[in-house]
């Protein structure tokens, strides 16, 4: 996956931050983003080039949990051991995974390099615990047996998500929040899945807009040309209710469009053309249903 770290990459990264004393963390971060971890040679080179000693760089690299000094496995598995997950039995999940991968309690990378297991403290989804995060996909209410099955499902091939560009990609089915009619259009596929259909207007124009139902995909098709950056007004194609929500996009400030997810929860989509912000807020429904598992891309 990672190409051999070239000396030039380190050099140009250091060069980029030349003269900025506090930039060590940014330099290390860029190297890690590229490499997946911080190799010893890179640390030595950074020390040389920034006029520090190796131990100074090493001290920073070991201080922050975000930095790792050993290569990461193909799949990153984080098991939440925060308080809420703990009381919901995360300890058993962690133990099962450690056992299964033959790793110590503080995690590590499995022998075959397939998985890196890391215990984390609270990923902010406490109500859904115990939480397992595999390559950035959140799995709720996992049990010990399910955890093992889930990671094994990822082992080879298809489910493999490149850890450096992890995105959650799974289909959601949505309803109009006003009339609760399904917005799914099974006859018009986007990304190979039924699309989500809206009636839209912008300026004097009216038309339709179809979104990919894959959470994490930004594919959009429109009836007419919608210039980038315009704020599009969303309506329900069934009840023609105005769907513009009360919340504003945290990225661009345009109003968000909330729609209901079948099975519980809601997605909010930014109404500005070209803005990729959307929020997914899944709730557990009374039967303890979990969010849909991510599908292979």
């Amino acid at each position: 996956m990672a190409t051999l770290l070239s000396k030039d990459f380190v050099r140009s990264t250091v060069e980029k931050y030349r003269g900025r004393r506090g930039a060590l963390i940014s330099i290390l971060d860029e190297i890690q983003t590229r490499e997946g971890y911080l190799p010893e040679t890179a640390l030595r080179q950074v020390a040389d080039l920034t006029g520090r000693t190796l131990i100074d760089v090493f001290g920073v690299a070991t201080f922050y949990k975000a930095f790792r000094l050993t290569p990461r496995g193909m799949h990153l598995v984080s098991v939440c051991l925060g308080t809420a997950c703990h009381v919901r039995g995360a300890g058993g999940v962690a133990a099962a995974l450690q056992d299964h991968l033959d790793l110590p309690a503080d995690g590590g990378t499995s022998q075959d390099g397939a998985f890196t297991l890391e215990p984390v403290r609270c990923v902010g989804a406490c109500a859904l615990g115990p939480i397992l995060v595999i390559d950035g996909d959140y799995m709720a209410n996992v049990s010990a047996t399910r955890a093992v099955a889930l990671i094994e499902g990822r082992r080879d091939g298809e489910g493999a998500v490149c850890p450096t560009e992890d995105e959650r990609v799974f289909p959601v089915e949505v309803n109009c929040p006003r009339c609760n009619h399904s917005l799914m259009d099974p006859d018009y596929l986007v990304d190979g899945y039924p699309s989500v259909r809206f009636t839209v207007s912008f300026g004097q124009e009216h038309g339709w807009l179809r979104l990919s139902s894959l959470y994490g995909s930004y594919a959009i098709e429109t009836g007419g040309e919608v210039p980038a950056d315009t704020i599009v007004h969303f309506f329900c194609p069934h009840c023609h209710g105005d769907l513009m929500g009360a919340w504003n996009c945290t990225e661009c400030g345009a109003p968000m469009v909330p729609v209901l997810v079948q099975g519980g929860g809601m997605v909010q989509i930014c109404s500005r053309r070209g803005c990729h912000s959307h929020l997914l807020d899944l709730e557990v429904d009374p039967e303890g249903q979990t969010p849909p598992p991510p599908l292979p891309r």
């Binding site: 000693t53 090493f58 070991t62």
Partner: protein
């Protein structure tokens, strides 16, 4: 010059002095552990606590790092200071009871027991060795790594460091002799001088986890 009061005594010290230096100049004892002349102040052990400010608005500060200021009221042995200092000693005893330096300090302050969970750390993270290595020996071979309960002192990757000159300065200043004498594992040794000699304890395998308590270490003195 800066005018301040030390235990009620009006004193004058030079600009830029710390309270510890001021007290030292006037012969007022303040115990220290992580302070050493010639090394930058670090303020890790908190043994040198003193009380600054007027009654009711006073606060505890570490004398080795607190700069002397005009008109400051400093008490080095108030009841509050003594209580805090004894607590610090108890905590130190709880983490590293085998240290001669800590035992002596505890005895001098009449601390004879501690109420906490007993541990036997090799290192109290006072940072003396790190500063010694960097500031006096210009070695920069050892430093802090990790964080929180995993914080430790050592060479990068815990391997013999190219910067290390085997001067043994770190072992010399260590109050806990935190740098374990690793003669049984020369590859990881920070000093390693003794690996070339036959230290008296070498054959006694039951002591293989023993720390180097020789002062100064015979091997390092030679190496």
């Amino acid at each position: 010059m800066i005018d301040l009061r030390l235990n009620g005594l009006p004193v004058q010290v030079e600009e830029g002095s710390t309270l510890l230096e001021a007290a030292g100049m006037y012969g007022i004892p303040i115990p220290t552990l992580c302070h050493m002349d010639g090394l930058s102040p670090y303020g890790a052990c908190r043994l040198c606590v003193v009380e600054v400010g007027a009654d009711g608005r006073s606060e505890l500060v570490s004398a080795c790092t607190y700069p002397a200021q005009d008109g400051l009221l400093v008490r080095t042995a108030s009841r509050r200071v003594l209580r805090a200092r004894r607590m610090v000693l108890e905590l130190l005893l709880a983490s590293c009871p085998q240290s001669k330096a800590i035992q002596d300090l505890a005895a001098a302050h009449d601390v004879r027991r501690q109420r906490f969970h007993q541990e036997h750390e090799d290192c109290i993270l006072c940072g003396l060795c790190v500063r010694m290595c960097a500031e006096q020996m210009t070695g920069h071979a050892i430093g802090f790594q990790g964080r929180g309960e995993h914080r430790s002192i050592g060479t990068p990757y815990d391997a013999r460091s190219a910067e290390c000159k085997l001067c043994g300065g770190c072992i010399y200043v260590c109050p806990a002799c935190s740098l374990r004498c690793t003669y049984t594992d020369p590859e990881r040794a920070v000093c390693g001088g003794c690996a070339n000699l036959a230290p008296p304890c070498l054959d006694k395998s039951q002591f293989h986890d023993m720390m180097c308590t020789m002062d100064p270490c015979v091997a390092c003195e030679i190496g």
